[in-house]
């Protein structure tokens, strides 16, 4: 049981990063990006195909995947920023649902129904230790993901607070119309956020824990665990999103150790989403301010 719970930490941090990126996207571009994992996955499979067909190096393939994901994400962002500049968050997010379908269907056509799984870039353990008679491992993936999460959190907060780029992004997030009036290039900045987010999700996937399933749809739907994590911070606080991700991972690990419940470990995410939505809506909110 301890083993399983501890093993949940790595996917937990992974969910946490997805949650952090979803939160930042929701704050900075007013979109809940359902296509996020799909974008990263698509880049990943392009890279994998190149490994198989062109025999290129694994790290180079990861770089190719990163570029593809960033560009794809940028295109989706550009479409939304061009045609729905002032639309509500639900309308903007709905477009990403259609984009997700397009990505999954395209992947199935291009890469075939029978595809091999992603191989993580790193597979070794950095440390192992004993608690009682249980042997616990700390994998390289875990360390890299945790560092990545912290880098994104601290980096984004520094970027937003310390650079003019960040100040402009926050201005857009506060009042898009007013930002446009004082000459901020809203569209370019918005698309920039999409590109960066696509690149970051691609990096994250490269260090994904091997245990996570990856047929096209369940892989793309890891965005659900990410949004559950983001909900813990109400799509506002990226630090709480990381915490939420870890919480989900650990809980899933714990549940999978119980023989009676192991088959239902995915329900953890669903129940967390239910609980946090109920909690978040305790106050009455109207669709428009007046």
């Amino acid at each position: 049981m301890l083993l399983n719970t501890f093993a949940g930490l790595t996917p937990g941090v992974f969910y946490g990063i997805i949650g952090i990126l979803l939160t930042l996207m929701a704050q900075l571009t007013r979109t809940v990006n359902f296509s996020q994992m799909g974008v990263g996955m698509f880049g990943g499979y392009v890279g994998m195909t190149m490994i198989q067909k062109l025999k290129i190096d694994m790290w180079l393939a990861a770089l190719v995947g990163l570029v593809i994901a960033a560009v794809l994400s940028g295109i989706i962002g550009w479409i939304i920023a061009t045609w729905l500049p002032n639309a509500q968050i639900a309308t903007r997010s709905a477009v990403t649902v259609a984009a997700l379908l397009l990505i999954v269907a395209t992947s199935s056509v291009l890469f075939g129904a029978n595809h091999s799984n992603f191989k993580p870039l790193l597979q070794n353990n950095v440390a192992e230790f004993n608690v009682g008679d249980v042997k616990l491992f700390v994998s390289q993936n875990f360390v890299v993901l945790l560092v990545l999460a912290l880098v994104i959190l601290i980096g984004s907060s520094l970027l937003l607070k310390r650079t003019m780029f960040g100040v402009r992004l926050r201005a857009i997030s506060d009042r898009q119309a007013a930002a446009e009036l004082i000459g901020v290039n809203v569209k370019v900045l918005n698309v920039g956020v999409w590109v960066v987010s696509g690149a970051l999700i691609s990096i994250t996937i490269s260090f994904m824990p091997a245990s996570i399933s990856n047929d096209y749809i369940s892989f793309s739907l890891l965005v659900i665990a990410g949004s559950a994590a983001a909900l813990v911070g109400a799509f506002k606080n990226p630090w709480l999103a990381l915490l939420g991700g870890v919480l989900i991972g650990v809980l899933q690990g714990f549940v999978s150790a119980l023989p009676a419940l192991a088959a239902y470990k995915e329900w953890v995410t669903f129940i967390l989403i239910l609980v946090f939505l109920l909690w978040n809506q305790r106050k009455e909110v109207w669709d428009v301010a007046r």
Partner: protein
Amino acid sequence: MSLVLNDVTVSRGVGPVISNVTLEVKPGQITTLVGPNGAGKTSLIESIAGVIIPSSGSVVMNDVDITKFSKRKRSRAGLAIVEQGRMIFPSLTVRENLQLTARTKSDFDEAMALFPELEKRMNNNTVLLSGGEQQMVVLARAFASKPKYLLLDEMSLGLAPVVFMRLLPVIEGIAKSGVGVLLVEQFAHLALGIAEDAMVVTSGRVSYHGSPKKLTSDAELMRKSYMGE
């Protein structure tokens, strides 16, 4: 060299909200536009700002036709607009609000110098400021972009007159530095007091254009403009 609205008509939904308005804002001068609620003052400002595109007529700035310019292009051409309401960026500090528009350190310092009382609030989030201070930030932010023309839409909204009076000499100072100011106000007397040129807009048309002094002294004209027949 001036900012000119040529025979502008703006339609919204039903019919024209502004009909054939022509006006000119000269550099270094304050033009005050007054009129009751719903007369079309805001639509007028928005047609200059590029928020709405006039259905006919043109907007010309220093001999360049900017009628079809995007909002960003207008701003880069030297137009600064302070919209109605407190158009601060609430999660940004006073400093960051000004940094958004100031291109150089000296632009920033000059803008800060307009309101020395903001100095100690420099690193506070603007959402925590009082209404008057927020309008100071907005005005300073507009000035920091070194505009050629400055449009101010109802800065006094929801402010006590004393607070608004603090802003007036600053607006005068900005005009003296060579900026053409269009001051759109419902609070007529204070705004007319600092103007070189005055206009009254009622029901989308210019019903008076001339000296501000003559307007303020004509009580009957003022009453009619505001309270109807």
